[in-house]
């Protein structure tokens, strides 16, 4: 339990594809301003095109948001948007590593790769959240987080613009919680309360 009191020991990774940007635009403003845990957002995006994305998401939150470079440290209360065309990985010394290896299931960044690496590094202190999308990325990775003792949340398919991705995770039985956007916000804000206990 002593470990959990250090907020940096927990990592929240949010994966999304088609239809998830709108979810983030609604979710981020609902997070409390003193949210203590780092959040990493992994979106399927077109490289070199969505350069405005960091700015757009940054406007929706009172937390600090950045697109990290290789070996940037993960800091409590920051939101990190995984850069386009790289996989994002986590080091045990609290740094981010980027990786330009092969696409996984046509995706780079791959949500599965990010979830797996988060589970390797943060184990039971990992929270994986899978949002709207049109492909099967993320559900295997959620399974890895779950096996490591972490928590997994899947967006309620009826509330998703494209329900295929969350539905895949539910079919594979890797979801601990199935929540709409308000529910996800409430869950995260609840984590902020337990951090202070």
């Amino acid at each position: 339990m002593a470990q959990r009191e250090r907020s940096i020991r927990r990592l929240i990774v949010i994966g999304g594809s088609a239809g998830s940007l709108d979810v983030l635009f609604r979710l981020l403003p609902m997070l409390r301003a003193d949210f203590p845990h780092p959040i990493v957002i992994v979106l399927h995006r077109r490289a070199n095109v969505d350069t405005m994305l960091t700015e757009l998401l940054g406007m929706k939150t009172r937390l600090k948001l950045s697109e990290p470079e290789d070996k940037d440290p993960i800091q409590p209360g920051w939101i990190y948007l995984a850069p386009g065309d790289y996989h994002i990985l986590f080091e045990k010394d609290g740094l981010i590593s980027l990786d330009y290896s092969e696409k996984v299931a046509y995706s780079r960044p791959s949500i599965d790769v990010a979830f797996q690496s988060a589970a390797d590094c943060y184990g039971a202190d990992t929270v994986g959240i899978l949002l709207s999308g049109a492909n099967a990325d993320g559900s295997d990775g959620l399974g890895v987080i779950r096996n490591a003792g972490g928590q997994t949340i899947v967006q309620l398919p009826q509330s998703a613009e494209v329900s295929f991705m969350p539905q895949q995770a539910i079919t594979k039985q890797v979801a601990d919680y199935i929540l709409d956007v308000k529910g996800i916000a409430a869950f995260l804000n609840g984590m902020a309360d337990t951090a202070r206990l």
């Binding site: 070199n48 990290p68 470079e69 290789d70 070996k71 850069p83 790289y86 990985l89 986590f90 080091e91 045990k92 740094l95 590593s97 980027l98 990786d99 330009y100 290896s101 092969e102 790769v113 797996q116 690496s117 390797d120 590094c121 295997d140 399974g143 890895v144």
Partner: protein
């Protein structure tokens, strides 16, 4: 998902590879190594860590595969056209007046960037007085780079990148298509020198006006990155350029005070050496 190695298992494996074969991966990024190792174990269907370890320790042919799969050899021609445009419009003109131009592609992989550079040097009428050193720790990819043969299917993307970087020629004039592959013209590779070089263990071997090392350092930990920056610093003329990948930075390094970054691309210029050394 299959087997996932523990930290201790990764340590054991890396110390075997160093002791038996002389390759030192101990300062590579652990997160990336773990992913590559787990992937290789799954690809080659090893039922246990012990069997994987035994094979790596004892089988010289398998070690070749191990090196090739553990290192990442994904690269493109004219990747990040905006970066190449700055090379073309600012960096090459800045070194054009030198009687002789030496460029080092450190971690050249299969050579796509070296051929991109040769095309730009040719168009700037500098190729005849340039030498392009292309090195990688992996002998097999260096051999591929030397051949200058690439898949035909990628030429459409590469041609678009080339045009977006400011290229004005017909990109297909630089190669000859054969079935599903293309071979780049002989005269493009005449000024290239290919060799194996390990950034972890080998030292500086020449002085350059430009060092290209893009998306190589992301696979190293911070300490090793810093060591490699010192190696580059020792290999770069005063006022020479160092070009890194889009998400790599010199800012954490102890050599950073001798460099400035003129624009937003990941290109740093070494300042004039005030002490004349």
């Amino acid at each position: 998902m299959g087997l996932s190695l523990t930290d201790e298992q990764v340590d054991e494996l890396l110390s075997d590879v160093l002791e038996n074969w002389g390759y030192d991966f101990s300062d590579y990024s652990r997160a990336s190594l773990l992913r590559r190792l787990n992937r290789l174990i799954a690809l080659d269907n090893f039922p246990s860590f012990a069997e994987f370890r035994f094979r790596v320790r004892t089988d010289r042919d398998y070690l070749k595969r191990f090196i090739e799969e553990i290192t990442v050899n994904v690269t493109e021609m004219f990747r990040d056209p905006g970066f190449y445009q700055v090379l073309r419009e600012q960096v090459l003109p800045a070194i054009a007046s030198r009687p002789f131009i030496r460029i080092w592609h450190a971690g050249c992989s299969t050579g796509e960037e070296v051929y991109s550079m040769a095309i730009m040097l040719h168009e700037a009428k500098l190729l005849h007085k340039s030498l392009l050193y292309a090195t990688d720790l992996n002998a097999d990819v260096v051999e591929k780079a030397k051949q200058g043969i690439f898949p035909l299917g990628q030429m459409k993307d590469y041609s678009e990148n080339y045009i977006a970087s400011g290229g004005t020629q017909d990109f297909s004039s630089y190669y000859t298509a054969m079935y599903d592959r293309v071979i780049f013209k002989d005269w493009l590779s005449e000024r290239m020198i290919f060799a194996t070089h390990n950034l972890v263990s080998d030292s500086s071997f020449n002085e350059f006006q430009l060092i290209m090392c893009r998306n190589v350092l992301i696979y190293f930990d911070k300490q090793l990155q810093n060591r490699v920056f010192h190696l580059f610093d020792n290999s770069l003329e005063s006022l020479g350029f160092l070009a890194l990948g889009a998400k790599e930075t010199l800012k954490f390094s102890t050599v950073t005070k001798r460099y400035r970054q003129p624009g937003k691309e990941k290109i740093w210029r070494k300042e004039k050496d005030l002490y004349g050394g």
